[in-house]
Subunit: 350 residues, 2 copies
Amino acid sequence: MDDQAGSRPEDTPVTIYQVAQRAGVGIATVSRALRGTGSVGARTRERILLAARELNFVPSRLGVSLAEGRHAANGIVFPSLTGPYFGEVLLGYEEAAAELGRSVIVVATDGLGSAQEHIRDLAGRVDGVVIYGRTAESDVVAELVAEHKPTVLLAPWADVDGPDVLTTENTRSARELTEHLLSHGHRRFTYLGGPTGGRDIDERWAALVGTLAAAGVPAPLPVPLSGYGEAELYVAARAVLADRGRPDAPDVIVCSHDEVALAVLLAARELGLTVPDDVAVTGWDDVVTAKHSWPPLTTVRQPMRRMGGMAARSLDELISGTRTTPRHEVLSTRPVIRESCGNHPQSSRR
Amino acid sequence: MDDQAGSRPEDTPVTIYQVAQRAGVGIATVSRALRGTGSVGARTRERILLAARELNFVPSRLGVSLAEGRHAANGIVFPSLTGPYFGEVLLGYEEAAAELGRSVIVVATDGLGSAQEHIRDLAGRVDGVVIYGRTAESDVVAELVAEHKPTVLLAPWADVDGPDVLTTENTRSARELTEHLLSHGHRRFTYLGGPTGGRDIDERWAALVGTLAAAGVPAPLPVPLSGYGEAELYVAARAVLADRGRPDAPDVIVCSHDEVALAVLLAARELGLTVPDDVAVTGWDDVVTAKHSWPPLTTVRQPMRRMGGMAARSLDELISGTRTTPRHEVLSTRPVIRESCGNHPQSSRR
DNA sequence: TTGTAGGCGTTATCAG
DNA sequence: CTGATAACGCCTACAA
């Protein structure tokens, strides 16, 4: 039922030569007929199409790519794939890439011993690469630039000139968030998850510090994390929540990411603390869980999906040569006020 | 600083020929020296290594693949990438694939017009494919089998013979979950999200029906979903929660997935209903959010990450020829009792 | 130990 | 309109 007349016991993939032979023409004509380039006689075309169908011919991607000199594939590099964050970005990327007719190769440098090597390998398989954060070392990025491999950085800055850079806004939203927290009457701030977790996080930290200083409020207490694993988060969360009796115990714990904040929420529950009455908590990202947590988490929304899509389109411009000058774009973010930051009278927002 | 002596203004990628010429040898020797196959004189080798380094030579993947007859890449097909579920599976897959020295190409058939076409294209780029659920039509799977492309199905069954099949256990866990719900005294069951949402979901439905029948409890009320979008879930959740006054209003809403259950939890909160006192709720999957929701969600844990890893390893066996007979594996699952299913006296589990 | 030459599967150029 | 044929970049018998 698959091959109509005369099963083809051969096992090797059908090549253009077999089609050509069967149709009684040269391979060039087959190529032209099949891809619609150049003109082919009507009768000839039909013979070829028929032969191709009968043989179930599928052009080898390797051959095509080699001849065309392009892969028709995009790469993307993440530090990890855990949590909902990266999935969203990847989704947006995938979607846009598919639209543009390109496949997506994913690398998560996570547990990889030789992350940089993997990135180099990736570069050899694709027409362009998107790199999240600081997953690729500067040398590697420099190499990519040197060999004119289109590159987009999803990070707040680049130490190499050449790649596109896509960032999300930190300072302004952090200030707005801080002001909101001040309006709740909070005065003793703890920042859990930084500084020194990277440029993004430090920008938020700086904005927090600045806004508090401007308001004449004591400086926040920085509490860097030892890691982002579940265990580390748990320990850190318990730690910041300890000693509630002390007079300098924080009113509010501002967290570098939602996942940190969620860990704090969980720990608070275990310790019998009420959020936001005993202590307020905020996150950053607005991952799906933020809406479902108890209490619902006040955070800052990042347009992750959109970011992935933009990255794909940016990269496409670079690859197709539509644009040759690097671009630096900042995506806006905005605070999402829910319940973990303090009590809002009769708030009825979703 | 990049190229030490004599910058190379050429723009085209360095080929093995250039290295050979520079080292004053033939390309075959370069190939042997660089990949460590066959023996090469010590001095010669050094000259070659030097030349390669100076030229910054990186073998073209296309060339290598074409010559070797393999891609060193694996594919994976998901219906979507939204939510935490697929991300976890992908993570496990990625990890294992990287370990095995293979790249991963991802396809999400989601918004794709020509999903099957994309899957075919994918197949041409990789040595083997993993397919989640029913994303690939039977014909396409049959094609893959026909052309001997190693294939692993992440689904409860296959209508085509040949591929490996990796499943997770449904019936037993569904029965255990149901029995637990019965032990809470629940008698009026609603099943939200099925049946007819696919084999997995229907298996759970069947187990629910069977267990209730065996206990002499009225049959559950099936409430299929019109879709998995946020909007559809919201509407459905409100609907099942309406009419709390009616005598046949459900004691417990058993949901096909966590995401459905979480929507119900949200809706209940909006309606001022208390879970589990007014109505109990359960999910399936144990996504990360389940632990953070309010109340924490009783569900069934699926080993998503492990599933991805197993798929990668299974596929590798098929590709490498270590194993030639198809394999059918069922991963076990287990209920995770938290608080949304009913009140547990002094339960202090995490 | 080393080099030559054929092959992998297409595309595209250039004469017929 | 069509058919040889030269790339494309590498690997690997085979010969020297």
